[in-house]
């Protein structure tokens, strides 16, 4: 069986294949940064309603993790550690989600922030999955989108990682190495 790319009848296979390959390359190059920016917008939205110092909206949804538990150990953690200290943990959530919005939008240390996004998605899912009107696939899709931008290192196209990574790769400093790993 021939593995040569099929072209339209009468056309040179190379010309057709070259065009589609260029298009394929362009799509595979630019779809990950589009996913990255869309995820950043999701986190912008998340940061918009975690209002300090009460974090009332966050408390409302976090309590579902106790009243409608998804995982018993997580429910215990929420009830005994996180909810009694929400004024402290709320700040962590606000800055984590604002940080996700900032760094995913910029494409800076993208792989690190993709991991943070996966962790935060997991925490939200374990808290709110059994709340009324929640859709399990929304959290799974959100997790997988972060996994996709992690796997494709989506900050290297159209992001600051792409500009600075060559310098970080040559760097001997701890920060440079860390940023190379995070990008």
């Amino acid at each position: 069986m021939s593995a040569a790319p099929a072209g339209p009848a009468g056309s040179a296979p190379g010309a057709y294949g070259g065009g589609t390959e260029a298009l394929d390359e362009r799509i595979s190059r630019w779809v990950p940064p589009i996913l990255r920016v869309v995820l950043a917008i999701v986190w912008f939205q998340g940061a918009s309603w975690k209002k300090p110092p009460e974090f009332a909206g966050l408390q409302f949804f976090t309590e579902f993790g106790v009243t409608k538990p998804v995982l018993a150990p997580w429910a215990w953690l929420l009830e005994n550690i996180i909810l009694p200290n929400l004024s402290l943990f709320g700040w962590g959530v606000l800055f984590a989600e604002a940080g996700l919005a900032v760094f995913l939008l910029l494409g800076l240390a993208t792989r690190f922030w993709a991991l943070v996004g996966m962790g935060q998605t997991l925490a939200i899912a374990l808290s709110a999955l059994n709340a009324p009107h929640e859709w399990v696939w929304s959290y799974l899709l959100m997790f997988l989108m972060h996994l996709a931008i992690f796997a494709t290192a989506a900050g290297r196209t159209g992001g600051l990682d792409g500009i600075f990574r060559p310098m970080w790769l040559r760097s001997r400093s701890l920060l440079g190495r860390a940023l190379a790993l995070a990008s």
Binding site: I41, G46, D161
Partner: protein, 141 residues
Amino acid sequence: MDARVTRAQQVIAGVALLVGIYVLLRGLGMPFAGPEGVSLLPRAGPVGPFSPLAGVVTIVLALAALAGALASARALVVLAGAGFLAAAALVLVQWFGKNDPNWLGGSGSTMAFFGAAGIGLLVLALAPADDSPTYASSRGS
């Protein structure tokens, strides 16, 4: 200044400029200095809000960053980036308080928007110059 760094500064400043103009046009008739404001992408979950004053601040800082990028004036880009970070800090302080006053009309996402513009511009302007031969032609490895 490396061409890719300059282009990235122009993109950040350009996006911020568009946001500022949009806010100013949509915010006509709203109280100038908050606490209400214009939200970007309201159906996708709001990014913002931004008061008309926030629109003016964004336009001024974006123009400063754009001028700095075009003239290779690093200090101007740094100044604009620091201005955006100061705006983010102001939003946080006033939003954390009783939301009155909230001059820039902001929430956590407004803070994140200003933070993104500020951090992006500062990282680009303050990063050490890389004059290695592979740098200009590298496309992410």
